[in-house]
């Protein structure tokens, strides 16, 4: 009996059960390049008898590239479908560059799912406004899948997506498909136009004035670079949206994903276990603090 009064559960060898830092081997089932630096991996457990744990939209896994390190990556698949473990990753550093080189059949390590998910339940009965910048569309996609799979539970659905150039548009085919649907509105913009792009040019918040939703009966979920979230939020609150219905996702350095290593502290919360999703009224007071 230890000081907290709980008994450690041990296995037959006398070893404490459940080492939360030990990954489970997963195999790359399929691999797809999305843009020049973003790719999607579909993973399955290497041991076929292992079940993929259920996940909620907005949660992430810690993905281990053998011998190199771990990175926290949001799950980008459909939470309503069992049998898939899908991640959309941007190759920005050493570990993600290694993951980008993997072929189907290769193994990675997976720990998770971790994190507080998008409050899709809170948005029931209201309009749902999803605002994505760049790779931020990937962590939002599961929320959209969930809403479309439970369409009657939501009012109007709006997806606003912005990225750097037309070459960086993520999930282009799906965006086109969603854009054709009669039961949701999709608006896309890029920061810099080019010869092939016939669509909107300008920053994401500009799309808000064209979006069809009721600011007094909506929930907004924003995912993208911190700067983008910072200039998007005033456009929403300016319309009368309350801060407790605006949700953002924070990103900080993570070494464990489970609240032990201390790296992802964001003031009084840990991004890994108290987030990464936060409502703006939770973090608003510190959101603009520099070097926080």
């Amino acid at each position: 009996m230890n000081a907290t009064g709980s008994l450690t559960i041990r296995n037959r060898g006398g070893q404490p059960l459940c080492e939360p830092m030990l990954p489970i081997a997963y195999r790359v089932k399929s691999f797809q390049a999305e843009t020049h630096d973003i790719f999607t991996m579909n993973l399955v457990p290497s041991d076929a008898s292992t079940k993929i744990p259920r996940f909620f939209p907005g949660q992430f896994n810690m993905i281990y590239a053998f011998g190199a390190g771990e990175v926290p990556i949001s799950i980008s698949g459909d939470p309503g479908r069992a049998g898939d473990c899908i991640h959309t990753i941007r190759a920005v550093g050493q570990t993600t560059a290694l993951l980008q080189k993997l072929k189907p059949g290769a193994d990675v390590g997976i720990r998770g799912p971790y994190g507080r998910p998008w409050p899709v339940d809170k948005a029931q009965g209201k309009d749902l406004v999803l605002i994505a910048g760049g790779i931020g569309l990937a962590p939002l996609r599961p929320a959209l899948y969930h809403a479309l799979g439970n369409r009657l539970q939501y009012g109007r659905i709006v997806l606003l997506f912005g990225t750097r150039t037309s070459r960086d548009i993520l999930f282009a085919n799906e965006l086109a498909e969603w854009g054709r649907r009669k039961d949701m509105q999709v608006l896309i913009t890029v920061d810099a136009g080019d010869a092939n792009w016939k669509g909107r040019v300008g920053v994401v918040p500009k799309l808000i004035s064209e979006a069809r939703f009721d600011p007094l009966h909506s929930v907004a979920m924003i995912c993208g670079p911190e700067i983008m979230m910072r200039y998007t939020i005033p456009e929403l609150t300016g319309l009368g949206m309350s801060e407790d219905r605006i949700f953002v996702t924070m990103e900080r350095s993570m070494k464990c994903g489970i609240g032990f290593c201390g790296h992802c502290q964001y003031g009084g919360v840990f991004v890994c276990k108290d987030g990464p999703v936060f409502s703006y009224d939770e973090v608003g007071a510190v959101f603009l603090r520099k070097e926080f």
Partner: protein, 373 residues
């Protein structure tokens, strides 16, 4: 509350050993009192005392008979529970890319911590809340913690850098220990008071009772020990406003004092190394040249490094000022939000071991004195 003569201290240590525990306790090494493996009475720093101040630490031999006449150590008990380097797992990869993960067996021998000061007892309890919390446990920490016997030795004096009284952690222990000793030394007498506080403490005390002479000690506690504790608490010069500092630091994020301390702080990470509650760690993944076997190690880290807040492209806290502010605000303020208690136990190690003598109590006072509105 019992008492025994100091001449029986060796028998107490033997009883603890016969209860199955290895002994880790204070000894003199490399011009400091450190916590390390000890074999018995003779290893204890009898007669030694320490002199501490901001950026200052010396030990001195006196002709006192006291075994525990020093205040604190640059070492902490987190070294035994939350090890500075630990392998988490090893793995192998075949040529076709399939990975096998092998869990690291947990080593958790039964160890008795001899000489845990009241502040350090609380520090252990604080770390328990991090590593053994309801949802996820660190199994190695938990196993070592269960097999640890905490034998506190209460403080009958304090160092100038101590401020346990205002942090409500000492000089007297309140809980969280198995056995607590108080050493009373005078011209004519030398004895120990001993109090048990757990089932395991009772068991060890019963073993000791068979070989040593235990008398009732409640009178001596009232007459000698308690007045000393009160005197120690009363005369501590350094103070911290335990509850007030929480809001103070949250409300003064842009206070000019941060620039002031940043000009002095070397970002050397000494404070985080000696702090008994600091828990930041990083993970090192390595592989052999053939990339066929790999290991993951966890090692202590410090929020004073640039690396600590690095996310693709740069560090969030890229100035020394923001890193000092992070450490102090976490320790005294946001720790409350995270774990429900303060993170500071008032042991004063950060003051003693800071090479430029930055004093966390002085910094808090300076901010409070001309607070932003």
């Amino acid at each position: 509350m019992n008492r025994f003569e100091a001449s029986d201290l060796g028998k107490l240590l033997s009883s603890i050993e016969s209860a199955g525990y290895r002994l880790v306790g204070p000894r003199v090494y490399n011009q400091a009192v450190v916590y390390d493996e000890i074999r018995g009475l003779n290893d204890l720093p009898r007669g030694w005392t320490d002199e501490q101040g901001p950026g200052f630490y010396r030990i001195k031999k006196t002709d006192s008979r006291a075994y525990f006449g020093y205040s604190s150590s640059p070492r902490t008990w987190k070294e035994s529970l939350f090890k500075s380097r630990e392998r988490l797992f090893s793995s192998t990869k075949t040529k076709n890319g399939s990975i096998q993960f092998t869990r690291e067996p947990v080593e958790a021998p039964k160890v008795a911590f001899i000489g845990v000061r009241a502040c350090d007892v609380v520090a252990i309890a604080i770390q328990d809340r991090i590593f053994i919390e309801p949802r996820i446990q660190d199994p190695a920490y938990q196993a070592r913690r269960e097999n640890a016997l905490i034998v506190a030795v209460q403080c009958t004096s304090s160092s100038p850098t101590c401020f346990c009284a205002s942090m409500n952690t000492g000089p007297e222990v309140r809980g969280g220990y198995d056995l607590a000793l108080t050493e009373i030394v005078s011209e004519r007498e030398h004895y120990f008071l001993i109090q048990e506080n757990s089932a395991e403490g009772e068991r060890v005390l019963a073993l000791f009772e068979r070989s040593g002479h235990l008398n009732d000690g409640i009178e001596e506690y009232r007459a000698c020990a308690r007045p000393v504790f009160e005197e120690v608490a009363r005369t501590q010069k350094r103070r911290m406003d335990l509850t007030g500092v929480r809001k103070l630091l949250n409300n003064n994020f842009e206070h000019p004092r941060w620039e002031n301390v940043a000009a002095r702080c070397l970002n050397c990470t000494n404070c985080t190394l000696v702090c008994p509650t600091c828990f930041c760690a990083t993970v090192e993944d390595t592989a052999d040249l053939g990339n066929s076997t790999a290991e993951r190690w966890r090692r202590w880290d410090s929020c004073f490094t640039l690396d600590h807040s690095y996310i693709h492209g740069g560090s969030v806290r890229y100035t020394g000022k923001s890193r000092y502010r992070q450490w102090m605000t976490h320790k005294l303020s946001t720790w409350w939000d995270q774990f429900g208690t303060t993170g500071c136990v008032g042991c004063g190690r950060c003051i003693t071991w800071c090479p430029v003598g930055i004093d966390i109590t002085e910094e808090a006072e300076a901010i409070a004195k001309n607070e932003n509105n």
